[in-house]
């Protein structure tokens, strides 16, 4: 088929009821919880670029894993975690070092390409790693995502206040006895996990719009950390589920719709708040 067909698919409801769609919806929920909660901290810590970079640091891990015949998520997770711990050990300031982070990001992306070229199967998977493939998420991955979410929420219940304090005001938190080095490592390690489960949905390149943008939108709409986290989770969920539904109706990649919705929410919130503050 050489002509591009943007026509409405009348059988979209049937498309939505197939098993891989169910998996995609459940995965979307898991991803929305993780991304919505951690996005707030990422913005508060000025670490959005570092978080974005983690996805790219994970890329050579992902393509390398394919090369070795291992699961993509495993390679991605190991590399992202390694990168996260190195950045975390360097301290919160390091996450704000844009030039060093950007350089490592570019190098890692290049390395990812190199690994991908070494095998034809990695080459084939390159596009889905870069841009996501939420429709191919397996039952095993869903279990992994759910376990991650449970662990994430449990850990956050424990460290919520010290993590918040050190994110908002590191110097005072340190003076008050918050172990800021540990908080930084914890944050970066959790972030590596969030990236690992979010990449299958939108890929390493578009992850910013899924993890950071909903949290930024929530920060415009609400005025407290907890409300912002809940709102970000809902926005993220609407973007992913909306993306799946619209992608079933029209022939467009889900990643594109997800990112478009997320960006649209942010733009509308930005616009409305700009008009109001006039």
């Amino acid at each position: 088929m050489s002509d591009i067909d943007f026509s409405f698919d009348p059988n979209w409801l049937e498309t939505l009821s197939v098993p891989f769609m169910t998996n995609a919806f459940i995965a979307g929920l898991c991803i929305a919880i993780a991304a919505g909660v951690m996005g707030y901290f990422t913005i508060a810590r000025h670490s959005t670029f570092a978080a974005h970079a983690l996805a790219h640091i994970g890329l050579p891990g992902a393509t390398g894993a394919v090369l070795l015949g291992l699961p993509v998520s495993l390679g991605l997770g190991v590399f992202a975690l390694g990168g996260a711990l190195v950045i975390g050990a360097l301290g919160k300031r390091a996450t704000q070092r844009e030039i060093a982070t950007g350089t490592v990001l570019a190098f890692a992306t290049g390395l990812g390409l190199f690994f991908a070229r070494l095998s034809s199967s990695a080459s084939q998977q390159m596009q889905s790693i870069l841009f996501g493939s939420i429709l191919t998420i397996t039952d095993g991955q869903i279990v992994g995502f759910a376990v991650f979410d449970v662990v994430l929420l449990a850990v956050l219940t424990l460290i919520y206040r010290p993590l918040l304090f050190s994110s908002v005001d590191e110097q005072v938190a340190q003076a008050k006895g918050v172990p800021i080095g540990l908080m930084n490592l914890a944050f970066m390690a959790i972030m590596a996990g969030v990236i690992t489960i979010a990449v299958p949905a939108v890929g390493t390149l578009l992850i910013f719009a899924l993890v950071i943008t909903p949290a930024a939108t929530a920060n415009i709409i609400t005025a407290s950390p907890f409300k912002a986290m809940v709102t970000a989770t809902l926005l993220c969920l609407v973007a992913i589920w909306g993306g799946l539904v619209i992608a079933a109706m029209f022939p467009a990649p889900p990643s594109f719709i997800i990112v478009t919705l997320s960006t649209l929410f942010w733009a509308v919130a930005k616009g409305v708040s700009a008009v109001r503050s006039r």
Partner: protein
Amino acid sequence: MRDNGQQEQQDCIVFRDASIKRGDHIIWRNGNLAIPSGSVTAIVGTNGAGKTTMMKAELGLLPLASGSLTVLGQPAGTMNHQIGYVPQSYTSDIDANLTAEQSVLLGLIGARFGFHRISKAQRAKAHEAMAFTGIEDKSHYRLSQLSGGLRQRVAIAQALVSDPKLLMLDEPLANLDLASQRAIVHVLARLNKELGMTIQVVAHDLNMLLPILTGAIYLLDGHPHYAAMNKVLDSKLLTHLYGTTVQVVTTPQGDMFVTPTPDEADDVVQDTHAPQEVARFHQHAGHHADAASQQAAQQTTERNAR
């Protein structure tokens, strides 16, 4: 230094032969001073003289290279729960989405692990602190919606909420307009007078603080010195301290110090050195060996005579 032991007990902060290094570089040495409880002290000195470093040492966040440092009767860092700390440029980088009330509450419960609900008593405590700094009506505003002066008052309320005995503020008046500066100074004056809080302020410009200051630590020539206020307001000393000509002017409101206008005569020779540079002179001259036992004022006289 002090001649009676009773006074020693009441001292809030005591430095003994203290020195601080960053890498191989000595920031300052021969810190021998005692700051009385209930005082309002400014830490003054040029950029890079180690003012913020001194506060970090008092909080136990930076180790001393030598000597000892006692804060509220215990080694530095052990009594931090009784210290309110307002760091520098708190007001500048706020990306976090947080209300004034939530920010103040962090001062009370921010370091606690585990799940806790905020109790009514804790919330009342936060509102009490906000009322003291005059921002209670702003409690539900986001920090990003507040002006620099109001954010500084939120930061002070956050420091106050845990009922500290010592309040340390790093450049609390920087980048604020006159009215906001005055409001902050007024808050500090009340904290000192009504609650008897010991206050320490890092400041570039002493003028605004002069009415409430009881003394100053001046970081000069790589040594910290403490002096009561009447001794600090000496134009020769201030000129040396700030690295630019400073004159003390007596006004109906009290002493002020000013830097002269550009129409100053060209033949004025300023006695100015970077603190690190002068610290090296002293090192080579072996001056520091006996400096410990000297009164700050004597050293000043000695150097000025040289």
